[in-house]
Assembly symmetry: C2
Homo-oligomer: 505 residues x 2
């Protein structure tokens, strides 16, 4: 956590200054956007076709794997791709308020360098050659940039690159956009006192989710095809879900997450993770594989040295030797029943899966998900929220509504910081729950461990994207942080501008 | 941690009662030992040949892999092997005071059951078929047994089997002996108020090490060929070293360690681990492989799902395609210079390695091992030693000398339990040191990560086994707990009764 920097300016002036900086970086994007319509429609997804060139629309609506293939073959220049995403990101800001700054100068310099490399050497620098990648702002970016992580008091904080950025850079990435996050990073929405609220490009009356909501809105708007989020309770998955995107919350200790800027650094009862949000599954895959292939455990020692595994036989074989996948359907966690559209989407997926050879569908009974929330919520703010409160007090900024909800009004947040014996007790509670859930999972198979459920299919939240400041039920995502299971979000119906109904696997 | 059980009896009576129980279990071993010599020599290693049968000596001095091969082929019965180890363990108790109880009745019933199985089915029940395994007492054993973990107040504590015992049982193990540990488990020796001090079979004026010192003395005496220890600062390695044995401290989250009885449960800044002490490398291997092959991560969710890897190419190839191993020699940690015999042993190993084709020897420069101790020592007793002090106060037992040293006189133990912000700070210090050490390691190779040192060879402690209550320097072992590197101890000169000079790799 950075030391709060005392400022003589009121927090409103700090915010205004950061907004002005953001606007200036957007104004530096060439060619400037044409004038926006006097009234931006609630569903902003038609704006790009009106205001960008046909080439720009085509590029930004291409899946990352297809872009990478063309970039590495020299069929598309990184300069052209970066320029297109810069302009669409500028438009995304106008539509959804998802950007903290664009980086046109350094991004285009980088793109040109990569283009020159390809011409000169004939080979791409790495598997992400020339691809623009957007970055949640608290994933610290060095080289003179500042990182506020959603707090006015941290406006002047500078730090070196988060480790993940160095790996992506070495693989050929272009960093061109930094995106919003909420005050405290502990909302399932994206609202802070610096930039206000980020909203959903499919319906600006609704939230883009959070805390990686700037990424959600930007990638949802197709102002990015691949971005970096972080997740300790749903922060990658909620934005992926609310915009109908792909998002991966990897297990803890898998992808390099050191060097970010936030409160609660050193807390490890519930480990925050880093992962991708993308318009395609291949985007998620190339991001993850590129990092793992660079053996990040050599530089971040808590990462587990398991290489990328293409050779694992994930599927069991049935009696006839055919592959078989057993899917447990968790449509209702027993605490908050999902809205009918979510249940309809689940049923739709199940109906399709039932027709797939080798797939077996079974019901997944929830196991004490109410207890799970008690266990994880007690572990989130073991310092009584002191670091968050201090960061707000340092500038005098008020708590946002969902900050009040998760800290001030949360009965799981103690009055005083917990001491070692209390933390150990709650850690034992966590381990006990994890063990019980493992037994629950093991019980889906035979006594010898055979024929267990392979994967759980469940909602990412109880409904589609909610109106602002209403995202108060974390249970459908925080459940898997508590258990530290990897979770992939995928879109079910992603035909904008209609309802987006994602499922978490 | 068990609740301390208030007893109306003074702790001395509790201790006397537990000693009487131990003696009764030893007296139940058939055939009773012949009368011991009126004076037991300091070096007790000759006793077995005098007092046991030739067959018993032969069996108990056979390596575990050879015993397993004969047991699974029916050439040796588990009953014969178990009887032999029970008798030699009884003798080990007389020599070194390393036993808390023997289990002749249940062990022989188990052995007979296994023998019958082999006759009936023609196949062993698993890879440990019929092999007696000794167990450090705080590795909780169920079925009506009690577990005091070195505290008088816990004398009546009962719990179910620690998870590891179920896996070993399913693989065919026979549990026949439980062994001593020190008060608090936080000594590098083995001394408590229940049983007194356990000593070294090669020289009873010296310590057997600790905290798995009962195992060290028993396996050293050859009253066991394979035993279970635990380690948070050197507790497997110190006994392995002091008796010239093999001992493995695996990485955290590798072998199933839930269900043990101790203080500080739920503490995870420095994770306690479980592992084998054996008379052979193959003993270490079969123990570890047997556990991993049973996929213990299905029942203990924090374990990492990596199977046993026989197929990994650990060694790099040199220019000519030959395998190459680069060994870093850390002969002095820069804090406490090892005694000349230890340095001589290191040099002896290095001289031999220099003659081996494909081995490259380089110096390993220590990196701030004094700082490392500061970092780990602050993380050991974050509750100000409250649980240990409470467990002692509950019975009125006094602290043993090394308890005073590590709690009462240790400047790293706070006056009051640390709070969450303090623990987070010390955790960041830990991670910072781990990262610096990783950089230190990476710097031994080229910029591309090639040609790095593969393994460090270093002493397990600054000297051979010390006189009692003198084992106060943890740095040569706790260093690798802090870094969470796996560490294997092996004997260099293991010709009893002479000096034992082990090396940690």
């Amino acid at each position: 956590m950075p030391d709060p920097i005392a400022s003589n300016k009121p927090w409103q002036e700090v915010a205004a200054s950061l907004q002005a900086h953001r606007d200036a970086t957007i104004a530096a994007v060439r060619t400037p956007l044409p004038p926006l319509p006097s009234s931006i429609p609630r569903n902003t997804m038609g704006l790009a076709a009106q205001l960008l060139t046909g080439d720009e629309v085509a590029i930004t609506e291409t899946a990352p794997e297809a872009l990478l293939s063309q970039l590495s073959a020299g069929k598309l220049s990184s300069t052209a791709v970066t320029s297109a995403f810069l302009r669409r990101a500028a438009l995304a800001q106008a539509a959804t308020n998802c950007i903290t700054e664009l980086l046109p100068e350094r991004a285009l310099a980088r793109a040109q360098e990569l283009d020159a490399h390809l011409v000169l050497k004939g080979t791409p620098v790495g598997p992400l050659h020339g691809l623009p990648i957007s970055v949640k702002e608290h994933v610290t970016m060095g080289g003179g940039l500042k990182t506020n992580a959603g707090f006015c008091a941290w406006a002047e904080h500078e730090g070196p690159n988060a480790l993940i950025l160095n790996y992506l850079w070495d693989a050929g990435a272009v960093f061109y956009a930094r995106t919003t996050q909420p005050q405290t990073l502990m909302h399932l929405e994206t609202s802070n006192n610096i930039y206000g609220a980020s909203v959903n490009p499919f319906n600006t009356a609704l939230t883009c989710g959070g805390s990686s909501g700037g990424e959600g809105a930007l990638v949802g708007f197709r102002g990015s095809c691949l971005g970096i989020g972080t997740d300790i309770g749903g922060s990658i998955r909620s934005p992926a879900a609310n915009q109908g995107l792909w998002g991966l919350r990897p297990s803890a200790h898998r992808l390099p997450n050191t060097g970010t800027t936030s409160t609660m650094m050193g807390e490890e009862q519930i480990v925050p993770v880093i992962g991708p949000i993308s318009t395609s599954l291949e985007g998620v895959k190339v991001f993850t594989k590129t990092l793992i292939d660079q053996r990040p455990w050599l530089k971040q020692p808590d990462l587990i040295p398991i290489g990328w595994r293409d050779d694992v036989q994930w599927l069991k074989k049935n009696d006839k030797g055919a592959k078989k996948l057993k899917i447990g359907i968790l449509s209702d966690d027993g605490v908050v029943r999902p809205h009918p559209p979510v249940l309809r989407a689940i049923n739709e997926v199940v109906d399709k899966l039932k027709g797939v050879d080798g797939v077996e569908i079974v019901e997944w009974k929830p196991y004490k998900h109410d207890l799970a929330w008690d266990v994880i919520a007690r572990l989130y703010f073991c310092d009584a929220g002191r670091e968050e409160l201090q960061a707000m007090e340092a500038s005098g900024e008020p708590p946002r509504p969902l900050t009040k909800f998760i800290i001030h009004e949360n009965s799981h947040v103690p009055k005083q910081a917990y001491t070692a014996p209390e933390i150990w007790k709650f850690t034992r509670d966590r381990d006990s729950y994890r063990t019980q859930y493992a037994e629950h999972w093991n019980s889906t198979g035979g006594a010898d461990g055979s024929d267990m459920v392979d994967v759980i299919l469940c909602p990412v939240g109880p409904g589609a994207a909610p109106p602002l400041d209403q995202s108060k039920y974390w249970g459908y995502t925080s459940q898997w942080n508590l258990l530290d299971y990897p979770a992939l979000v995928f879109p079910v119906r992603c035909t904008p501008p209609h309802l987006v109904l994602p499922i978490c696997i």
